[in-house]
């Protein structure tokens, strides 16, 4: 599990009409264990609440979860809303079960959400460790120029 030298601030929640809570609970648990600060918004979080909270809490990353198949409905404006709110460079992750039908090929699902402006799109059943690795890498990348020494350390 990667450990962060600088405490990342993570906003997390299930979006829209989604009530699945187990994934975000585990993810939050793993993030806290790895040293992150987690602001848990819980289930059925409106898109606007993600934006408002992320700004108010000065978050590094927003982790959107959606399991009930309705992800696309709720996410199309999210990146634009962050831009408008002046947080254009915030990391935006999404994971869960992102299409209504399991038959939809993963590549097309991923491409769709990337084109909506998500930084990373996680396939179903992604283990928390994978998300942590990704976050560590993205933060290292972001802070690379100015915080060369601090960076991110993998333990």
């Amino acid at each position: 599990m990667p450990r962060f030298l600088r405490t990342p601030r993570v906003v997390i929640g299930s979006i829209g009409d989604d009530i699945h809570v187990v994934g975000i609970t585990i993810l939050a648990h793993a993030l806290r264990n790895a040293g992150a600060e987690v602001i848990q918004l819980g289930i059925q979080t409106p898109p606007e609440e993600f934006v408002a909270t992320a700004i108010a809490e000065d978050a590094d990353v927003v982790m959107v979860s959606s399991s009930n198949g309705h992800a696309a409905m709720w996410c199309s404006q999210l990146r634009a809303d962050f831009d408008t709110a002046g947080a254009g460079s915030i990391l935006l992750y999404i994971g869960g079960n992102l299409s209504v039908s399991a038959a939809t090929p993963w590549e097309s699902v991923e491409a769709r959400f990337l084109s909506m402006g998500f930084t990373r799109v996680f396939a179903p059943r992604t283990q928390p460790e994978v998300a942590l690795e990704a976050l560590a890498a993205d933060l290292a990348q972001l802070h690379a120029p100015d915080e060369q020494e601090q960076g991110v350390e993998r333990v």
Binding site: D17, V22, G42, I43, S101, A103
Partner: protein, 492 residues
């Protein structure tokens, strides 16, 4: 809607007044004509009903197998139901999408418009957008009875529409919907909304439609549930249904992979529900235990999922439940294909027949142990809840939740303390890792402790991390991944 809800039955006038409000505010229209609706539904129910099928099954020791399924378009839903019918489903489901459940009727209609017979943009059937006429036409084209499936805090319009369209059973109640499906709503707010629905079901019942309802209780958290606690919610839901005149209740039992405990849970579900219904004077409510295949994370490989379903069905067959909700072998993957639905129903029916014949020979000592343990714990909590309400389950549960006398693990609801945690013992039976403030008999905790000791072994006690690990207990993935073929060299 009074400020302090109680379990008293709504008068028909009160119901009518509430209906005006609800239809006006949520749909901007007059309520459906209740007389026309009940008269039509009563004629339709003569063709058969969920309760009649369950009653026949219970009497003969058979099990009705029921899937869950819904897609957006009428064509798609009809094809899906035909498929399930042919595969041997005993009752056909219409699962409502979650936009409709959240009262976003317009958005649901928009997504319906963008869906086709083969591609659904919704995770269920937008019953309000389709409307009564079309849905009646759908339901009457099948010979098997139909259950309308949905879960949310406010399903008044959905329930009205479903019953008016010929559904003869509905799902859930305030315990499950509030604590498992909502973030901010309090019981004091949600119970009256569910009482409205139950009053509607009761009214249909009086008019000749023996409307049934699943008492889901605290059965489906997506994690594992200690059976006694699961059934506390089941009984409370059932008591509130009965309060409004519901006469056909399906008390739940979620199957979790430990056969002895699952059998015991099914048996205890019937015992406890009837016991407390009688205690509160509801002596004419028929109950049909509804077991449900595991409702947490499923293995994503079909062969493993078959194994999990088989384990569940063996338990349900030993307990001779009249109703089993069947998951599919693609549960861990996504909305199932036609073939997956059919195959899952087939293995389920196959096992109910084969194990059903030998059910009595498979009752073990441990089933009795688990049953007594469940009864002991559930009665303690239920009695405490009722005490807090001076015998009224509505008042009692509102107070109990505040004090942690009711509490469940992993609830998304902010008003739930969430101090209770489940953990599996070495055999996979679900126990309390932490029982929070639940008033459990010391003896029961001692018995649980004994069983947990086997898993803990000589190491440190069980921890939160063990509970997290348990979320994948039924996937057994790592253990099943085959070893690579590393050939040892022959000695010279």
């Amino acid at each position: 809607m009074s400020e302090q809800p109680t379990n008293a039955k709504l008068s028909l006038d009160e119901l009518q007044a509430q209906r005006e409000d609800v239809f006006r505010s949520q749909l901007d229209r007059d309520p459906y004509d209740l007389d026309e609706c009940t008269a039509w539904a009563a004629r339709n129910a003569k063709r058969g009903s969920v309760s009649a099928s369950l009653s026949a099954a219970k009497a003969s020791g058979r099990t009705v197998v029921v899937p869950r399924a819904g897609v957006a378009s009428m064509e798609g839903q009809r094809a899906l139901m035909r498929e399930l019918d042919e595969a041997g489903a005993g009752v056909l489901p219409i699962t409502v999408d979650s936009l409709t459940r959240e009262l976003r009727f317009d958005e649901a209609a928009r997504q319906l418009a963008e869906s086709t017979a083969t591609e659904s943009h919704l995770n269920g059937f937008p019953i309000v957008a389709h409307g009564i006429e079309a849905t009646r036409e759908l339901i009457t084209s099948f010979s098997k009875p139909v259950i309308i499936r949905a879960n949310a805090v406010d399903l008044r319009i959905v329930a009205e529409t479903g019953m008016a369209s010929g559904g003869t059973a509905f799902v859930s109640g305030p315990m499950y919907a509030t604590l498992e499906y909502s973030k901010n709503v309090r019981l004091a707010e949600s119970i009256p909304k569910w009482q409205y629905i139950f009053r509607i079901l009761g009214h249909y019942t009086e008019r000749g439609v023996p409307a049934g309802d699943d008492a889901v209780g605290f059965a489906q958290s997506g994690t594992c549930s200690v059976p006694s606690l699961m059934l506390v919610g089941v009984v409370l839901d059932a008591l509130i249904m009965a309060g409004q005149g519901v006469k056909h209740v399906m008390p739940y039992a979620m199957l979790q992979g430990n056969i002895a405990q699952d059998v015991a849970c099914c048996l205890a579900s019937e015992i406890l529900t009837q016991e407390y219904l009688h205690k509160l004077g509801f002596t004419d409510v028929a109950t049909y235990v509804a077991s449900s295949d595991w409702n947490g994370a499923f293995p994503h490989r079909a062969a493993d999922a078959y194994g999990l379903i088989a384990t569940n069905v063996v338990a349900a067959a030993i307990a001779k439940v009249p109703l089993n909700y069947v998951k599919t072998i693609e549960e861990g993957v996504g909305v199932p294909t036609a073939e997956a639905n059919a195959a899952s129903i087939r293995i389920t029916r196959y096992l109910f027949r084969l194990i059903g014949k030998q059910a009595d020979s498979l009752m073990s000592e441990d089933v009795h142990f688990e049953k007594e343990l469940i009864l002991m714990q559930a009665r303690a909590v239920l009695d405490a809840v009722l005490d807090l309400g001076d015998g009224d389950p509505v008042v009692g549960s509102i107070h109990a939740l505040e004090r942690g006398v009711l509490d469940i693990p992993f609830s998304p609801n902010v008003h739930v303390r969430g101090n209770v945690l489940p953990v599996r013992d070495a055999a996979g039976a679900v126990r309390f890792l932490d029982h929070g403030n639940l008033p459990l008999p010391a003896e029961s905790l001692r018995l649980e402790q004994q069983r947990l000791a086997v898993r803990a072994g000589s190491g440190p006690g069980l921890s939160y991390q063990d509970m997290i690990d348990d979320l994948q207990f039924l996937e057994l993935e790592d253990e099943l991944t085959a070893q690579p073929n590393v050939v040892a060299p022959m000695e010279p």
